[in-house]
Structures are given as structure tokens and as C-alpha cells.
């Protein structure tokens, strides 16, 4: 029972970070700042949700199949953990090379 509670708490926390990432994507003024929201929020949201799923899967006993499935989920989480910052970095560099000007505070007070 306590395992299920922890798993549900992890999934809900992951969903919360997905919500903030999406809201940040909609609200921030330029694409560098949107990158902050999308790159970080999605990484942590996916990590927490997948960890919660792996924990929930182990709840029904430790058969070989259950352990294999949990390992698969953890490998997907590891891949996202490595790949997402790299993709973020690639897009930011594309913006820098294209010399997109970053949004600054002074411009906003027009």
C-alpha cells in the first residue's frame, strides 16, 4: 500500500512539473527563456513520472518479467536524462549562431 502511495505521489509531482513546463512555454517572452522552461521541466517531469511507474510495476511481486519491465522504464528515463539537455543545447546554439537577439528587461517597458 505504501509503495502505491509513493508511486502516485511521484507521478503527480511529475505531472505538476509538466504543467509548469507547458505554462512556461506559453508565457515566457522569447525563445531562450522558453528553453529554460521546456528543457528543465520536461526532463524532471519525465524522470519523476517514469520512476513512479517503475515503482508501481514492482508492487505486484518480484517476478522476472516485472523486473525486466522496470529496468526498461529506468533505461528510458536514463536516456531522456542524457538526451534532453543535449537537445536543448543544440537548439540554443542554433539560435545563437543565427544571432537571434535575447529578450532583455529594458525593452519590455515600452
Amino acid at each position: 500500500m505504501i509503495v502505491i502511495t509513493i508511486a502516485v505521489a511521484l507521478i503527480v509531482a511529475g505531472t505538476f512539473f509538466f504543467v509548469t513546463a507547458t505554462l512556461g512555454l506559453l508565457r515566457f517572452p522569447d525563445f531562450y527563456t522558453r528553453m529554460h522552461a521546456a528543457g528543465k521541466g520536461d526532463t524532471l517531469g519525465a524522470l519523476l513520472s517514469l520512476a513512479g511507474l517503475a515503482l508501481y510495476n514492482l508492487n505486484n511481486g518480484f517476478s522476472v518479467e516485472a523486473i525486466l519491465i522496470s529496468m526498461k522504464i529506468l533505461i528510458i528515463a536514463l536516456f531522456i536524462f542524457i538526451a534532453n539537455p543535449t537537445a536543448t543545447h543544440a537548439i540554443t546554439k542554433a539560435g545563437l549562431v543565427c544571432s537571434v537577439k535575447p529578450w532583455e528587461k529594458k525593452e519590455s517597458s515600452k
Binding site: 505538476f16 505554462l23 522552461a37 524532471l44 542524457i82 545563437l96 529578450w103 528587461k105
Partner: protein, 159 residues
């Protein structure tokens, strides 16, 4: 030696993702993993010779991960509070950060760590100088303090 390591890693992945343990699937795995190892072994491990340093480094890297996770959670709470606050108190700018790290692996680790920690994103590396986009002055000063760089340098034995 290289061949053996690459083959073992590939074969573990084969077993994990197929999930079947009969003779047919296991032998298929041996054949295809051997083929892939033969064709592309020097893609996965770049360095010429393997030294026992790698084992020590990976142990220290595993010790570094919990601290990094803690920083990531802090960073997300920071971004979440920025997103949810109505006035949006941000002051983004691009700063330069001179690094003392040398090897490629530590540079990559440090760049990804910067991206994941509060309010900063790596944009480019030119001659050992990071271009970092920071959300506000405070997080830029936090990065300049250089705590994380020391930790990464400690992992890969560079000082």
C-alpha cells in the same frame, strides 16, 4: 578487450529488450550483437587503451548524481515559481564563463549539468569559454562561484 566490452553491453540490452530466454532468441542475439560489434566497435569507445582509471571515475560519477538530482529539483522549483508568479520577474542575459576543464568528457558533463541546474543554459563553447544564458543576475553569480565546476573537476581528476 574493446570487443568484449561492447559485445557484453549490447548483449545485455538484447536480453533486456527481447525478454525471451529460449535458445532461438538467445542465439539470434549472439549473431546480431557479434555483427554489430565487428562493424562499429570503435564508435562506442574512442580512447586507444582502457585504463583502470575509468572504473574509479565511474564510481565518483555515481556519487555525483544524487547531488545533481537535488540541484535539478531546486532548479525546477525555481522555474515553476517564476512561471506561476504574475509579474514574471526575469532579467535574462548571456554571460561568459571561463573554464579550467580540459578533457572532452568533463566538458560535456559540465555543460549538461549547467543546463540542468537553476536558471542557466549552455549555448556554446569556444576555446574553453562557455556562453551561458542566465535567467537572472542571482543565478549567474551562483554559477560564477564555481562550486559545480570543482565537483566535476574532482570526478575526472583534473587539477
Amino acid at each position: 578487450m574493446k570487443y568484449v566490452i561492447v559485445f557484453l553491453v549490447l548483449y545485455l540490452h538484447w536480453i533486456l529488450w527481447s525478454g525471451k530466454f529460449d535458445v532461438f532468441h538467445l542465439s539470434l542475439g549472439v549473431i546480431s550483437c557479434a555483427l554489430v560489434t565487428f562493424m562499429s566497435h570503435n564508435l562506442y569507445i574512442q580512447s586507444e587503451k582502457l585504463s583502470p582509471r575509468i572504473i574509479k571515475e565511474s564510481f565518483r560519477f555515481i556519487k555525483y548524481v544524487p547531488w545533481l538530482l537535488y540541484q535539478i529539483i531546486l532548479s525546477n522549483i525555481h522555474v515553476a515559481s517564476l512561471v506561476l508568479s504574475p509579474g514574471m520577474p526575469i532579467d535574462p542575459k548571456i554571460i561568459r564563463y571561463k573554464t579550467k576543464l580540459k578533457s572532452e568528457l568533463s566538458l560535456v558533463t559540465f555543460a549538461n549539468s549547467i543546463t540542468l541546474t537553476p536558471g542557466t543554459i549552455t549555448a556554446d563553447i569556444v576555446d574553453g569559454e562557455y556562453y551561458v544564458h542566465a535567467l537572472s543576475k542571482k543565478v549567474a553569480d551562483d554559477l560564477m562561484a564555481g562550486e559545480m565546476e570543482d565537483k566535476v573537476a574532482q570526478i575526472f581528476e583534473e587539477d
